[in-house]
């Protein structure tokens, strides 16, 4: 089936009208060395029947493992109503329709989403979403450079306790625009940034500080001290937060100890925990909220509430002068869309859960993780890696290399966590584990028992 409705005659008529011989010729001004003749690694198209069979086989390979891996994507219960509503014809679309005259339902949903995210993060304004948490952090760094007009350095401090993939994505998104990312080392005893270690940046021109809470190790950073330090020096604070955690932790809008002028400047994060299945890594969505003073530097779309000519309430895209179709090359960002379908699911999820429901999910996930770490710590050769509180994941140390142990666990149908060795070799054999409300005591005991066996086998080998 052809998805392009133009016939060959249509195309020829249009080319003749503008005096061009071929479609190819329209792209002549792009230098040859910047063009790809083919996409490497992308195979020939398959038929619907072939692709259906291929995907069913791939899904079978995944099996139904017991999953204790978090590290940025989290397995939460998704009420059946979420996707039953999100896939209704009124919402289900390959491309988000924004025309106010045709899309009041979609625009109202996005407005409700923005309201929920602003409320959850305790920030003044939200956009209609970005692609994922990692690229949202990159966009937040670019936004901070635009918004912090007291700083000219484009230097962004990024703790190594920020998700390694987020740091890579931010460098990819923003690195070619002259931003300089400086890594802040963490305390290997505590798994956090010691606020005192920031003193060596006193008096320097720094544009922004990124703080992930909970951090990549699941540990809670001293966000108040970090935020106070940055705000006292005209350094913007970019919060990277887990939305589930905000039901029980202090939201970024309240970070800092000063009553006046407290809070992060920009909050971003991965929206997947809000009703989006893990599905092999995507599609997910990123969220971004900010202080009102920075709203014109925000990337992406923003829906506003207004009145029509007859004075009736309605919804429409607003502040579009930031965007590409108006500002062209000087747009704040090249993002002119949002993750409509995923945001629909998240909005339905949040409205079904409500604040009390989300708090129960967060509290249960925290309790399950504590139970998991307690059970694993009783296994010979396993210990907790860091002192101090966590939200719903924690790093544990093993007495031998992690990768072979994870393989043995996988053979028993258990995904045991994320091997930290690749990104944090200084920690020795270390494993990041997570339990959400989806795990039972029996699941946790099964994992602890299997881990004991796997370690015994590894020791014997």
């Amino acid at each position: 089936m052809a998805f392009i409705p133009h016939t060959r005659e249509d195309v020829e008529a249009m080319l003749a009208a503008i005096g061009v011989d071929s479609i190819e010729q329209l792209f002549d001004e792009i230098p040859a060395n910047l063009r790809l003749s083919a996409l490497a690694g992308v195979p020939e198209a398959l038929s619907e029947m072939e692709i259906g069979r291929l995907m069913a086989e791939r899904a079978r390979l995944d099996g139904r493992p017991l999953c204790f891996i978090g590290a940025g994507a989290y397995e939460h219960h998704i009420p059946a109503a979420v996707w039953a509503i999100a896939t209704r014809g009124e919402f289900y679309s390959a491309y988000t329709p924004y025309q106010a005259e045709a899309s009041q339902g979609t625009l109202q949903l996005l407005y409700e989403y923005q309201t929920m995210m602003a409320s959850l993060t305790d920030m003044a304004v939200s956009n209609a979403s970005l692609y994922d948490g990692a690229s949202a952090m990159g966009e937040a760094c670019l936004m901070a450079v635009r918004a912090n007009r007291k700083s000219r350095s484009r230097r962004i401090l990024v703790p190594t306790t920020v998700h390694p993939h987020y740091r890579r994505a931010a460098a990819a998104v923003a690195g070619n625009q002259g931003l300089v990312f400086e890594e802040l080392p963490y305390c290997t005893e505590e798994g956090c940034i010691p606020p005192g270690s920031l003193g060596r940046y006193d008096g320097q021109d720094i544009t922004a500080l990124v703080i992930q809470q909970p951090n990549f190790f699941g540990r809670l950073e001293d966000v108040d001290a970090l935020c106070d330090w940055a705000r006292a020096r005209n350094i913007l604070v970019i919060a990277v937060v887990n939305p589930t955690s905000l039901a029980v932790l202090k939201p970024p809008g309240q970070w800092g100890s000063q009553d006046a002028n407290k809070g992060a400047d920009i909050a971003v994060g991965e929206g997947q925990p809000l009703g989006v299945p893990l599905s092999s890594g995507g599609p997910y969505f990123g969220f971004m909220t900010a202080r009102m003073e920075h709203v014109r530097q925000m990337p992406g779309r923003i829906v506003g509430r207004t009145v029509d000519v007859a004075g009736r309430a309605g919804f429409t895209l607003t502040l579009q002068a930031r965007e590409q179709h108006i500002r062209r090359a000087k747009a704040t960002s090249n993002i002119c869309t949002n993750q409509g379908l995923l945001v629909t699911a998240a909005t339905v999820y949040l409205s079904l859960m409500g604040p009390a429901g989300l708090e129960r999910v967060a509290a249960a996930s925290h309790a399950r993780t504590r139970e998991l770490v307690a059970a694993l710590s009783r296994v010979a050769g396993v210990r907790r890696l860091f002192r101090g509180p966590v939200f719903h994941e924690e790093a544990i140390a093993l007495d031998r290399p992690v990768a072979p142990v994870l393989e043995k666990l996988a053979a028993r149908g258990i995904i045991g966590g994320l091997d930290l060795t690749e990104h944090y070799p200084e920690l020795g054999p270390a494993l990041l584990v997570c339990a959400t409300e989806t795990k039972t005591t029996a699941d946790i005991e099964r994992y602890a028992g299997a881990l004991a066996e796997c370690l015994r086998e590894a020791r014997a080998a």
Partner: protein, 130 residues
Amino acid sequence: MSNVPSDLKYTKSHEWLRTLPDGTVEVGITDHAQHALGDLVFVEVPEAGRKLTAGEAFAVVESVKAASDVYSPVTGEVTASNAALASEPEAINSDSYGKGWLMRLRPAGASPPALLSAAEYEKLIAEEGG
């Protein structure tokens, strides 16, 4: 018909420039420019202390129709900017040569750049169909 005061200097990109008694210069956008943009809803002005090169964008004016950069007519250092525009951007529509000023700056170097006289600017906007 646009208002083009005879005591100011102008640029081809529709900024005006007024030399103040203390030697600093005040810069804004012309009546013709505000008229072409329509109702202004937001103005971003530079921080005092910022060093600008002639031709460099120093402000953004956003109307219901478009957002446009405003370019510095001269090289120098910003001494003040019009903070009142944050809450009252429409001052540029109503009084572009007075309350609608954008910034003041201290020019660097002695030789003034090639700016247009009021008569030359009137001719320019007449040619542009304004």
